[in-house]
Amino acid sequence: MLAVLLIVWFALPLVPLALWAFADRWSFPSAIPTVWGVDGLDAAIAAGGPAASGRSFLLGLTVALIATPIGALAARGLVAGWAPLPKILPVLLFAPVAIPPFAAVLGTNVLLLRAHVPPMLGLVVVLVAAAVPYTTFMLRTAYAAHDVGFEEEARTLGASAGQVLWRVHLPLMAPALARAAFLAFLVGWSDYLVTLIVGGGQFVTLPMITASLAAGIGNDSVVAVLSLTAVLPPLILLVLLARTGSHRRP
């Protein structure tokens, strides 16, 4: 019963979005679109939706590929007790989430510009900093539950450090790493503020074209198509994650 309620709670906001996406015309006070069609889809393609989605995907992927290993190292260090400043480090790692993003991004941007950091590099660095708290805290829990006994056993049996990492450690941690990477991916995939301010308009992503079109009147159907495009990939990834996660769990 609770599951059904939850699904309704999450799906309900998507219903008008799905209707608007295929409404060429929806005049008040009709309860459903008055003319169905794919004008919204055409407009989304004309507005550069496919290329922008590709860029967002690339950004999400890059952030995930960098923030996940960093998070794993930090989590491992915190759990094993070899990380420096064990009291302060978690606070520092969590700071990007705690500080209001607008203030943090504006301040950071002046610094990055002054240091002549290329906008694309700055964009990735700031988004990775924003994603590391999520990956660290997700993986910290996983490492706390991780039994190093398996790895010690493998070493005793003569496996090299590299073999232990690839054949024992990573397979055991894969579900947790995938979940952490998913969170980091979302940070890049859905970002608007950092892409605009730090990216300096060089990298036009899906949230940027969606937000700019949403600022005008009469764009409901194209905005609905773009918003659904933004919701679907994470949803698909989430389903895949849930399935592989349950298969691989030892």
Binding site: D24, N109, L111, L113, R114, G216
Partner: protein, 419 residues
């Protein structure tokens, strides 16, 4: 087994120290303040054109108008490519985003390699940028196509009271307009005072966005002209005496009509989008716009009622122009000038004025063009919704100076009761 050989611990420390040192260095580096006003380094058009070859110009513009986006992508950008300049449109939610980017770069001492090359701008944003020395100036006289523009046009000489001073090239003209649903409004008013009377006799069917919204604020200034007996009686330059003398009637008129507005004047739409939405949903019968160009599409695609028409207002309405400005630190200023010049060509202005394309009123002095060029404007299809610029701009009212705007907005906030 642990992944912590002592050496990695030392490496971590070294890395942390290096990072901190780098951060401190960066914070100390470069505190160059922007100069008061940057002027173009070019002295002749040929060197601009040769410098522009191969440049990519980043045009930052409000992206909420699909027709505007497709005009730039499908008409202006290919024409720029033919002149050797790649035009890249950066869609933004608000023109302030572009200005903020420029100001941040200047603050960081990046005075020559900025990421914004061209901005579609006017009014408040232009003034803020001018005060901060954020624009490149005195470059528009270089543009050959400036000959198509009237040198004495007051709308193009000053932008909401801020002297243009060659810091921005004309792009469009716009006229404040009131659209109404002619199926419902049987007796369309023909004056601003008439609109308020109509609102009073049709409770709940009219409202305006709360200032400081751009359009709501323009409507309040329009009422100020009306209660003062015409724009001639309101001095364009702001003074406290004029304000104290003229505005009591304004706020009395707006307070008197408030109980008859949408939701009894308890609340007002926060911006022009909300106002347009109310009109689209049939909750009110009139809407206001400073950009009537978009009305044609909104009626065609069914967002607005099919019977939407534009009121003809006897005493005229506010007119303004919008411009293309080049930031003082633009990396591709030459390319930006080529695009600004192109935008002032007859072909581009005709294409942009076509209601099926965008319908923006031309900034050119059509009367001074050759007969063949004039004919191109005359041959444009007529919008079924929006009257021609000649009709709409009859008796056009000049804008007040920018200082009036915040004063009138603040007066509205303190004197018009909302719940």
């Amino acid at each position: 087994m642990h992944f912590t050989p002592p050496s990695s611990r030392r490496k971590w420390r070294t890395f942390a120290t290096a990072t901190l040192a780098l951060g401190a260095l960066v914070a100390l580096a470069g505190c160059a303040a922007p100069s008061a006003e940057a002027t173009s380094a070019f002295t002749d058009w040929d060197s601009v054109v040769s410098d522009a070859q191969g440049q990519t110009v980043n045009l930052w513009m409000y992206g909420g108008d699909e027709q505007g986006n497709s005009y730039v992508d499908d008409v202006l950008a290919p024409a720029a490519a033919a002149e050797g300049v790649t035009l890249n449109r950066v869609p933004i939610v608000d023109t302030k985003d572009a200005l903020n980017r420029v100001l941040t770069e200047l603050q960081a001492g990046r005075t020559a390699d900025g990421s914004v090359d061209l901005v579609w701008v006017n009014g408040d944003n232009f003034r803020t940028g001018s005060e901060a020395g954020a624009w490149l100036c005195e470059w528009t006289p270089l543009l050959p196509n400036m000959r198509n523009v009237s040198a004495t046009d007051p709308l193009l000489g000053s932008d909401f009271g801020t002297p243009v001073n060659g810091c921005e090239a004309p792009w469009n003209k716009a006229q404040f307009s009131v659209a109404y649903n002619s199926d419902v409004v049987a007796d369309p008013p023909s004056t601003v005072a008439g609109i308020l009377e109509w609102a009073a006799s049709h409770p709940g069917r009219f409202t305006y966005p709360a200032p400081p919204d751009f359009t709501g604020s323009a409507f309040v200034r329009q009422v100020l002209y009306s209660v003062s007996g015409g724009y001639e009686n309101v001095p364009a330059a702001y003074s406290a005496e004029s304000f104290d003398q003229l505005t009591p009637d304004l706020y009395t008129a707006l307070s008197d009509v408030a109980p008859s507005l949408w939701r009894g004047g308890d609340t007002y739409p926060a911006d022009v989008d909300q106002l347009n939405q109310l009109y689209a949903d049939g909750q009110i019968d009139m809407t206001l716009t400073y950009g009537p160009a978009t009305l044609t599409r909104l009626v065609e695609d069914g967002t607005f009622p099919a019977a939407t028409k534009v009121l003809s207002i006897a005493e005229g309405t506010l007119g303004n122009a919008s411009f293309l400005a080049i930031p003082a630190n633009a990396a591709h200023a030459a390319g930006a000038m080529v695009v600004a010049n192109l935008a002032l060509s007859v072909e581009q202005q005709v294409a942009k004025a076509d209601p099926t394309r965008w319908g923006q009123f031309t900034a050119l002095d059509v009367a001074a063009l050759t007969p063949a060029e004039r004919q191109q404007f005359a041959d444009l299809p007529q919008s079924t919704v929006v009257p021609s610029f000649e009709v709409l701009s009859r008796n056009a009212n000049p804008e007040l100076s920018a200082e009036w705007v915040p004063a009138v907005n603040e007066g509205w906030r303190t004197r018009i009761p909302t719940r």
